[in-house]
């Protein structure tokens, strides 16, 4: 037997042990398969940064045909669910009680201003607590009014056309559907959770159950131990990833414009970085629950807040931007956004891939050293 045969023999042994353990303790498989499903459904259906059927009150203090037409435009808009109220006081009360999100108010002098002074006001009051939503509502209201102006123009009525009009193109996501960028980001989050959580528990588990000693007395070397811990979970995590991508594309109709090969290679890098991070936690902390909590605080939360998944990184203070560079999810969010919506644009993908590669090597290397120490000491 050459040393190579021995190495493979040992590796086969520990792999077999891990696979059996995974198969007989289905919670890991559940974590890898059920978690993505649950998360995708919650996020995919529950979260959208777009607003639809926003309840707004329309208060018409002017009964002229033009005012009624404006109000009808709001009724017809798919973005609004209008409720007609007669007084602004009542509408104010409703807004305070959160029964509506906004008020569209046409004052009594609307039509006389419109034709007498050539400029009439439409007042839109929104509830600003959720600033993002409020801004969207303002934008939709503006759109409704613009449509009305275009309609009047098409009918040949004299209208004031703005001197400069904006013609906007949103590349990669023409209609600006937030789901198209939330779902790829979500896949990053799922992979972070699977990768870190699955492995954060495995070494801690050996310590907690006292089976570490049993492993210590076997001829398994630390490289075998590491590989045996990483490989099965790697495959499990990649399965979870493929499942999420498949659901994202088929169920949520998120476009996928990159190549599958690129996705596989790049997500493998990210998976390795996550697994390495999880292993590092796991090797350092011997209690499973604490390891899990730490992996949530140190892995999951930063992946959510500091990755550009929901909040734009470039708008944060410089310090935060610098801190975000140590979060592996940051690089994969950029990768998945580009892969899904823009395609294989290597100048964007490559630097991120390199960063992920570096992090994978770093984390696995650190975990390797940590495991060594523990085994010897």
């Amino acid at each position: 037997m050459t040393p190579r045969d021995l190495f493979f023999m040992r590796l086969r042994g520990i792999l077999r042990k891990e696979v059996l353990q995974i198969l007989r303790d289905p919670s890991s498989i559940a974590l890898a398969i059920v978690l993505p499903l649950v998360l995708l459904f919650i996020f995919g259906y529950g979260v959208t940064l777009d607003a639809e059927n926003v309840p707004v009150a329309v208060v018409l203090n002017d009964n002229s045909p033009s005012a009624r037409e404006v109000s009808a435009r709001f009724d017809l808009s798919p973005y609004f669910k209008t409720i007609h109220l007669t007084s602004i006081d009542e509408a104010t009360l409703w807004l305070n009680q959160r029964r509506i999100d906004g008020i569209v108010h046409l004052q009594g002098d609307f039509s006389s201003d419109l034709y007498g002074r050539n400029q009439a006001q439409v007042q839109v009051i929104v509830n600003g607590i959720d600033a993002n939503r409020a801004r969207l509502i303002q934008g939709y209201a503006n759109g409704v009014l613009q449509k009305w102006t275009e309609l009047r123009q098409a009918r040949g009525e004299p209208v004031a056309v703005p001197a400069v009009k904006i013609s906007q193109r949103i590349w990669f996501n023409e209609s600006g559907v937030s789901r198209n960028f939330l779902v790829p980001g979500l896949i990053t989050l799922i992979m972070t959770l699977i990768g870190i959580l699955l492995t954060a528990l495995v070494v801690a588990r050996e310590w907690e159950r006292g089976t570490m000693e049993a492993i210590l007395v076997t001829p398994i070397r630390r490289i075998d131990f590491l590989l045996g811990k990483v490989l099965p979970y790697f495959i499990l995590g990649m399965l979870g990833m493929c499942l999420s991508v498949w659901i994202g594309v088929t169920l949520f109709h998120v476009p996928f414009r990159g190549s599958f090969v690129a996705l596989l290679i790049l997500s493998a890098l990210f998976m390795m970085a996550s697994l390495g991070f999880g292993l590092l936690i796991s090797a350092a902390i011997r209690v499973q629950f604490v390891a899990a909590q730490i992996s949530i605080v140190a892995g999951f939360l930063p992946a959510l807040f500091l990755s550009g998944l929901i909040f734009d990184l470039e708008s944060t203070p410089r310090v935060i931007q610098i801190v975000s560079h140590v979060v592996p999810a940051r690089y994969f969010v950029a990768i998945s956004h580009t892969l899904f919506m823009a395609g294989d644009i290597w100048p964007v993908l490559l630097p991120n891939a390199l960063a992920l590669f570096g992090m994978a090597v770093l984390f696995i290397g650190l975990a390797f050293r940590k495991i060594t120490k523990r085994l010897e000491g």
Binding site: R98, V126, A131, V164, R169, N173, I296
Partner: protein
């Protein structure tokens, strides 16, 4: 009466253990503070320094006046001046800029002839939220420019038009940070509560003192209450600290009453310690708190999508972990697989 005495005894022991153990002490103060500031600054939808490129084919006084408004805005940051249409592709695809402002060659001629002209804006839609918000900012800039053109007599208004005047209540400048930071304290203190409670159980197991607890004259309910109350206390203290931080550091207004906030926080933390760990129940509460305490006196379920999501996700995961691990812990090791 005996029950109360036993619970108090257990609580005292837990308090002492938390305060004497450097690890627990750190859990209460260190990470939560870091998270509060890091996430508080990171969690905003408002855009700053959006990198944009300019492709100005007109190169006239008018086009430069319009572009100057972009340069003057703190929302935008000019990165590149393009010389050909082909570069637009390059710049957007490679994320060199997030949007390109394109002014056509006829821009100023059209304006002087009294015709309306277009300003083309191409945005990178990879983050559609950023794209839409940036387009909103541009809309404002151009609207202002149009009004100034009329005011300065460059062009004249030749027909009836409507003007949208909008106001946002409770948050006049639409700072999304207010919305998120006000709920952040609840989210973080929830984590603190969970870690503290789990640490206290894990430690008993590690030192083998859980068996002692089992033979002591406590019934299971008393152990549960005694173990969760200290966590609740620290959780509420943390949450109040972060509420103060939100008001005094991040400048979030506080328009409710402190009593309501404390009451709501109490309910919230209680849900977390109890049912909240298993389901997503607690999360509606965190939103409830943020709107109740900070912005108006009325309750809401509709708003706060992001926060609810983060939170229920959290609850789900922690509930799962709680079931998985504390179950074995309280079984005294008998159910270890």
């Amino acid at each position: 009466m005996d029950t109360v005495r036993r619970i108090i005894a257990l609580m005292l022991k837990e308090f002492v253990m938390v305060l004497k153990d450097p690890k627990s002490r750190f859990v209460i103060i260190g990470p939560p503070l870091i998270q509060f500031f890091v996430f508080g600054y990171a969690a905003t939808y408002d855009l700053k320094n959006v990198r944009y490129a300019v492709f100005d084919e007109s190169r006239t006084v008018e086009s430069r006046q319009l572009l100057a408004r972009f340069e003057g805005s703190e929302n935008f940051e000019l990165t590149k001046t393009l010389l050909s249409e082909k570069e637009i592709d390059f710049v957007i695809n490679r994320e060199k800029a997030r949007l390109v402002v394109h002014i056509g060659p006829k821009f100023s001629r059209d304006l002087h002839n009294g015709r309306s002209t277009t300003l083309q804006v191409i945005v990178d839609g990879r983050n559609s939220n950023v794209a839409l918000i940036a387009l909103g900012y541009i809309g404002r800039i151009v609207e202002q420019y149009n009004q100034d053109l009329v005011k300065n007599g460059v062009i004249s208004m030749d027909g009836p038009g409507v003007l949208l005047t909008d106001r946002a209540w409770f948050n006049a400048n639409l700072q999304s940070r207010w919305f998120i930071v006000s709920a952040l304290g609840g989210l973080i203190s929830m984590v603190v509560v969970m870690i503290l409670t789990s640490l206290s159980v894990a430690r008993e197991r590690e030192f083998g003192t859980f068996d002692q607890l089992l033979v002591a004259p406590f019934n299971p309910a008393e152990i549960l209450v005694g173990k969760s109350l200290p966590g609740m206390f620290f959780g509420i203290m943390d949450a109040l600290l972060f509420a103060a931080g939100a008001v005094y550091w991040f400048g979030v207004p506080f328009r409710g009453t402190v009593t309501t906030l404390v009451l709501a926080l109490g309910c919230f933390i209680l849900t977390i310690v109890g049912v909240g760990l298993l389901g997503g129940m607690g999360f509606t509460m965190s939103i409830f708190i943020s709107s109740l305490g900070f912005t108006s006196e009325t309750e809401t379920l509709i708003a706060a999508k992001t926060a609810i999501l983060l939170a229920s996700l959290f609850a789900g995961v922690s509930g799962f972990l709680w079931l998985r691990f504390s179950g074995t812990a309280e079984g005294g090791g008998g159910t270890r697989r």
